[in-house]
């Protein structure tokens, strides 16, 4: 064991900007990025619906494709964190993982998640706490019907 220099050690000692200013700047970034991120989320939801929705010809789709599309929603959700669409996308990733572990799709559970994503996208800001809880409890219930995917071995 040995000590290494910490280049961040002096960041609170001299000069700089007020903490409130730093956070205000960063929160302004979030506001400015809101519309572009919503556009991206809309494109992702459209693609997910077209490829994996009830109207699509669903059969032997690649689990990894839906997983990655859902993960990309999480990637750009910071500016729209109030909608909590990232939480539904996270749940969808988990569900897809569990489906992949079993090598079979659970389309009704996928459809529940797609509906939740659309609801949160378009009405998320108006939903109250109780309504949100119902949505997320519902997503948890359908996801938990499948056994969890095995964890990757340590070091893998």
């Amino acid at each position: 064991m040995f000590r290494v220099p910490n280049n961040l050690a002096g960041i609170t000692q001299n000069g700089g900007i007020l903490l409130s200013e730093a956070l205000a700047n960063a929160n302004q970034v979030m506001k400015d990025m809101r519309k572009p991120c919503l556009r991206t989320i809309d494109r992702l939801l459209l693609e997910i619906g077209q490829r994996f929705g009830p109207q699509a010809r669903r059969g032997d789709e690649d689990f990894q494709v839906l997983y990655e599309l859902s993960a990309r929603i999480i990637d750009v959700s910071a500016p729209v964190a109030d909608l909590q669409i990232d939480r539904a996308a996270f749940s969808l990733c988990e569900l897809v993982d569990r489906c992949a572990a079993q090598s079979s799709w659970d389309w009704p559970s996928i459809d529940v998640h797609l509906d939740a994503l659309q609801l949160l996208r378009h009405a998320g800001a108006q939903l109250g706490g109780a309504e949100r809880k119902k949505i997320f409890d519902g997503l948890d219930r359908v996801t938990e019907r499948l056994p969890a995917a095995g964890a990757a071995p340590d070091g893998a």
Partner: protein, 202 residues
């Protein structure tokens, strides 16, 4: 999930002189992170869209801090950090690294803990959470460890000694048996003096 100890939030923060590298294969996510970090006052920001690009930067530029996505095509964030700790050489080998991740399987969380990163933070990242982690790292006094199986900051955040009933594996671990006293007990006045608050001028 581990929550770092609460620290007293300072009033001012100076990140102007830091060089920060950000790695994410999602261009929009990379852009969001860069703008947030710039909002904190960082002036030198290097954006990399993959780990291979980041490795080239590490070979050429001294850095102060890295934030990397974990799930990327090709070399992922954990693999990058393992390379950084083993292959980059000082001083970049020791710089703080935060890994950010969306959905994480349990195995990935363990990998992130064991790859040598300082923190794993869940997406979406809020400015306040990121700033809190930066403050925490600025106060981090953990030593670095290099062994055959691990290179990075000491993964122990607490020093509570070995589990009860076991011998410690580290040279500085103390035994579990306290033994008989070898010096006189402290008087009550001596104890009171140790606990008396004293004025500190900042």
């Amino acid at each position: 999930m581990f929550e770092p100890p609460k620290i007293k939030t300072p009033v001012r923060i100076n990140l102007e002189r830091l060089t920060v590298m950000l790695i994410d294969d999602n261009p929009q996510a990379l852009d969001i992170l860069a703008q947030v970090v710039a909002g904190f006052g960082v002036r030198q920001i290097i954006k990399c869209e993959n780990a291979e690009m980041a490795m080239q930067v590490v070979r050429k530029h001294p850095l102060d801090f890295v934030i990397t996505d974990d799930q990327m095509a090709g070399t992922d964030g954990c693999q990058f950090v393992e390379w950084l700790r083993r292959e980059a050489g000082p001083p970049n080998a020791f710089i703080p690294v935060i890994i950010v991740t969306g959905h994480s399987r349990l195995g990935q969380v363990k990998r992130a803990r064991d790859c040598g990163a300082h923190f794993l933070v869940a997406k979406p990242i809020t400015p306040k959470v990121l700033l809190d982690r930066i403050f925490w790292i600025s106060k981090d006094e953990r030593e670095f460890i290099e062994t055959a199986t691990y290179a990075g900051p000491d993964r122990r955040f607490k020093r509570e000694g070995p589990p009860p009933g076991t011998k410690g594996r580290r040279a500085e671990d103390r035994g579990t048996v306290v033994g008989e006293a070898t010096t006189p007990n402290l008087s009550q006045d001596q104890i009171n003096d140790m606990l008396k608050p004293s004025k500190v001028t900042i």
